[in-house]
Symmetry: C2
Subunit: 344 residues, 2 copies
Amino acid sequence: MPAARGGRPPTIRSVAEHAGVSKSLVSLVLRGSPRVSEARRRAVLDAVRELGYRPNATARHLTERRSHTVGVLLNDLRNPWFVECLEGLNSVFHAHDLRMFLGDGRLDRRTDEALTQGFLELPVDGMVLVGTMPESAVIAEAAATLPTVVASSRDFDLPGVPVFANDDRHGAALAVRHLADLGHRHIAHLAGSFGAVARLRRESYEQTMRAHGLGEHIRVERCDLTEEGGYRAAVRLLTGPRRPTALFAVNDMACVGALSAAEELGIAVPGELSLVGYDNTYLARIRHLSLTTVDNASHEVGRNAAKALLDRIAGRADGAGEHLLPPELRIRSSTAPPTRLTTS
Amino acid sequence: MPAARGGRPPTIRSVAEHAGVSKSLVSLVLRGSPRVSEARRRAVLDAVRELGYRPNATARHLTERRSHTVGVLLNDLRNPWFVECLEGLNSVFHAHDLRMFLGDGRLDRRTDEALTQGFLELPVDGMVLVGTMPESAVIAEAAATLPTVVASSRDFDLPGVPVFANDDRHGAALAVRHLADLGHRHIAHLAGSFGAVARLRRESYEQTMRAHGLGEHIRVERCDLTEEGGYRAAVRLLTGPRRPTALFAVNDMACVGALSAAEELGIAVPGELSLVGYDNTYLARIRHLSLTTVDNASHEVGRNAAKALLDRIAGRADGAGEHLLPPELRIRSSTAPPTRLTTS
DNA sequence: TTGAAAGCGCTAACAC
DNA sequence: GTGTTAGCGCTTTCAA
């Protein structure tokens, strides 16, 4: 590896000299052009091998005026939900030779903006906004400058920026209907404390409750979208008067928190309390938790968002607006009909 | 935002013309040089604002001959353990204006190599190898070319490449000793099926068992490091003859799988079976799971690895070899003394 | 203090 | 087919 020992690494120029050809010929060979004689091709390839030459992507990006990189902004890598969505994005981008620059804004606007600024300066070829995050002028500006798509967030209404997500209203309705059909009447909701997704799920919860004639039993407790948040909100709900027999949580993390709360309070799940989450993360699938939940199709949302971004990068800017995938209820072991005792 | 409407985005040249100065002066102002007159500085800054100029990082990287980017190679973003470590890395890199390029090799050597190749070609300023992954000639070559550090893997023995990890032998010993001290004798081990970390934990399990006079009760069942793998291995162990009263799992994911298996088989935890995991991920901290586990200090491992990489990037290549942090036992609700009935 | 000029390593017309 | 010539947008000598 000559590149490793001192001196500068070999460039396309060194290769050209070594092979006795011109820079451009080397470039042609390396990019697989068919208009090159076999002899020259061999000479170039040999030189490449002998020198241990490696193309410099930064230089290529500069002349090509694209970085083959997309910026992905999200809000909390700790939420297992993101991983699914990232896989979806990655499967498409990878097939098109695009790298992902991951930026986790930690729900902090300043961090988001710094990351976005970085995307703009690189500049990346496109940007994906994943999940709920605070709005920001910098993001809006970036979205106006860069091909951009939104995945699994309903917070943005940026001109010309398509939104890919699951239908949160429909998903929440599925959850509530499932509980109502089981015979529950006192169905409470652990609601997210911010973001359009949380709002949609809450509104749909309320609407569905009313549609089932349960309007008087509507009960919303806010929490943040973590296990701890779910736990605390559930404790408030379960220790107060008129204890609900069922809980629909804004996401799986909060739902697990609720499960813990129930256990700690000696309330049997699903015997005395039914629980429904949202997202169908691997958390819900863990047998020992086995949560009934709503599958939000995050992998496919990711795939669709990525495809749309490719289109936009290629100049095809069609299909703005919302593209909602139908969510599906996954019934597991955390829901059951209410027992006589606990029904009112 | 003039940058947004058609045409090319403004460059340092446009700014120079607009401000009536030279390119180099603009560069000086932008980089905060003190040797610039106030008048010119204002003129440049005004031009920047008026044109909506944004520096192009790619171009800068080309001339500076560094990309302000480090490549991070890991093996499965689904494992919550990584997130902790990434946070540790990020906290340090962020403070030094380095971005992270995340590559998830999914435990696939070809993917690893493709990602590494990408790092080499960018080229990144340095590389971090995180967690167990298959060895590879490409990675070894990259490590010889690029400043490199290893975090939480014991698989690599690359010349001059420092390794940061927790002391897996010690951690496993803590786990086994805890179980032995509780009075368990039939302590089995769910072992990882590959990688040096899994091997160290297994070896230490065996050694500690012998040290406690329990050599004859050593029992190892291999599994992969997922919930599913842990579940299956535990089923084999718990349905066979001479059922163990305690299980030490190679990591938390596998341990959760074992918990599920026990539940399904009607074996009470910790009444009839004690369980210890490894990593102290948030999984273990979920109240409803509440696993006794070994904290591997992953956040600090990440921090230390990042600091060492900074040193190497800066040319200070001291401190190769292994740097092991002491792990700590976290006792939760999945361990208890064995009951008379189940002890043999 | 400021400007001119020479690259960084590569691609892309355009000619031969 | 192949080589020559300009750049890509920026930093950095080196003079002035």
